[in-house]
Point group: C2
Chain length 387, copies 2
């Protein structure tokens, strides 16, 4: 299955977990932006590893999983230094989307989604700043979580935009998906479910009509599980306005993060990635302030909408995965539309889980649930009941 | 000598010229932006050749040289699609500067300069839009010519900025250098030399003091050859103002040239190259108009300064080649300073020849002569008398 283009080439990074533990016998893959002691962190770029020493310590999340008995089977490819949402990487090759082979896998945790969807391991770690776990989970038909921002220790992971960076994971089945959470969140998956489901009508209207239709049975199942449901507007200011705020903040922080590397190593990047970094330099302080205020408004909106025991659902992506090999301009607008839905997690810091189970034209598309900050395990409980 | 990093790797492009002809027995190399029938044109980029069919026709200049009896020994590396002045290419490796091995070779005709300076052939073809023959000739200690714009047919050559693009060549010795011109310009090298030499005091003052000192004996030799000499100001508006105009026009045209490729192929580029292309998109029409008017002023200035029989001299570069491996920010200002001198050729379309023979800190630096449009052969005559 090496022709997935999903594993980092060369000697395979394999590390056995401690023999006993709550995750014993589970096998997982690690996105190549996350440190595993003794293995180079390649970052999906030919010029990242030479700029960074081989780590001598596992990332916190890796250490925690190994200590719980899970074993690493390999490191997985990613969009260049996490800067992408589609998974197309001309340096490493674009990983296969096993659920829709003529389509992109989604990114930036592209290789992790690919190997899990292909059944090569039980779960895989990814990072999610602006959608990098949720989008490939939606496109490849997997459970995927972006935890509450700041809840899981990010040490030993390549940063992009610290005010939005999170580490999450993907799995094929809901029970395994939830089991990983009991270890990382260090709490059992609750048995009680939320009592109220909000349906974000603006987000459903924003998705392609076929997606809304395909997701309707999943929304019904959620409604049955939760009981009470109500329609609401998620973003009164507009999803595109929230997206602009997230883009402004994320791009500015990403440029700040990568500027020393860009300057010292003048790295090779695909044009679209380099262009976004170059254009971020012209974002002004006034724009950043405006964006930061809109972020406060988005957070306030979610606090208002989501008291304890309430969750909200929306389409994870407005359409299934785009076809592979399209031009930069063909993909420009789809990319923006994806971000209009995916921005909510990065902007508000709320936990978000992708639930698989729907397809459009034979390609997966996921339903997301968002809960109040800190409700990660409750979202996993919903996924478990749903799966 | 493959460790020059100067030849395109893989099977060597070798083509024998017609057995008899004015250039019989001369061997030359071809910058990999210039078509040789049956060989891919790689353009110094991993993503250029796949976007362009293997040419079935020689570029005009190649056909002309082969017909005159010269033989091709190989194709040479270049900055990515000609977008560079220093010769550093992370995809192909940076060619060796045989005259100063710890320094860059200059670009974008980097490989051509490298193989000629190493003595592997008699001359080599390059292209020069903003300095791409003259700068490596200066840095590697070679004769090099940027012909009058429009004088030599550019067909079969990868364009960058059509209003400045030219094809030229480099050689170690002045006689060979001039012989190539008799074929390409289809006229004998005149025996009579220009009668007046102008010394561009603003350009000499702009160069490092050590360069001006090192070039003084060359200026004296030129003065002896030509007879009458006079000091003058080349750019009353300022060399940096001329540079801005050339940068505005050249960048805008380059983006227009490469936009379809960038869009369709999203190619891999080093960050500095991609950034310049991305930022060119924000150049406005009013800036282009202003730059075009300044170009008219620069052309008017050269028409005024250079009646027939008059040539002008200036340092080709303000310093010898920078050290290899510097950061983007360390090289930013040196790059701009080089362009302040090199812009004159691209902006005015006048022919310019680099004369070698001086060194600073052991590294070559060249003296340029510029003549009126169409005086190419007269400049070659000066080089021949000088050499």
């Amino acid at each position: 299955m090496e022709n997935l283009n999903a594993f980092v080439p060369g000697p395979r990074c394999e590390v056995a977990g401690t023999p006993k533990g709550p995750l014993a016998k589970l096998r997982f893959a690690v996105k190549d932006l996350i440190d595993v002691a003794g293995w180079p962190t390649g970052g999906g770029s030919p010029d990242w590893a030479r700029a960074h020493p081989i780590p001598d310590t596992d990332a916190w999340v890796v250490a925690r999983l190994l200590a719980a008995g899970a074993s690493i089977i390999g490191k997985t490819e990613t969009d260049e230094v996490s800067l992408g949402i589609l998974g197309e990487n001309p340096f490493t090759g674009t990983p296969l989307n096993p659920a829709a082979p003529n389509r992109v896998p989604g990114g930036s945790s592209s290789g992790s989604a690919s190997v899990v969807a292909a059944g090569l391991c039980d779960f895989a770690l990814g990072t999610d700043t602006g959608g990098s776990v949720r989008v490939p989970a939606s496109f490849c038909g997997l459970y995927g979580i972006r935890p509450t921002h700041g809840r899981l220790d990010f040490s030993g992971i390549c940063a992009q935009a610290p005010s939005s960076d999170t580490v999450g994971w993907m799995a094929r089945d809901a029970r395994t998906f939830a089991r990983v959470g009991t270890v990382l969140f260090a709490e059992p998956t609750p048995t009680a479910l939320p009592k109220t489901l909000l349906i974000a009508t603006d987000a459903f209207a924003f998705a392609d009509p076929g997606v809304t239709t395909a997701l309707a049975p999943l929304v019904d199942r959620l409604t049955d599980l939760v009981g009470h449901h109500r329609e609401t507007t998620l973003a009164p200011q507009g999803l595109s306005v929230w997206k602009d705020a997230q883009r402004t903040l994320q791009s500015s922080e990403a440029l700040k993060t990568f500027a020393p590397w860009l300057d010292r190593f003048n790295p090779r990047l695909q044009y679209s990635v380099a262009r976004n970094l170059a254009l971020a330099a012209s974002i002004g302080e006034a724009d950043r302030t405006r964006a930061a205020l809109m972020r406060e408004e988005a957070r306030a909106r979610l606090r208002f909408l989501l008291p304890p025991g309430t969750i909200l659902c929306l389409p994870t992506t407005p359409f299934p995965a785009p076809l592979r090999g399209q031009s930069v301009s063909e993909l420009a607008f789809p990319r923006e539309r994806i971000t209009c839905l995916a921005c909510v997690g990065g902007l508000t810091g709320s936990p978000q889980v992708n639930l698989p189970g729907a397809t459009v034209d034979g390609a997966p598309v996921g339903l997301s649930i968002i809960g109040p900050r800190g409700s990660d395990s409750q979202l996993l409980a919903v996924a478990k009941a749903f799966g």
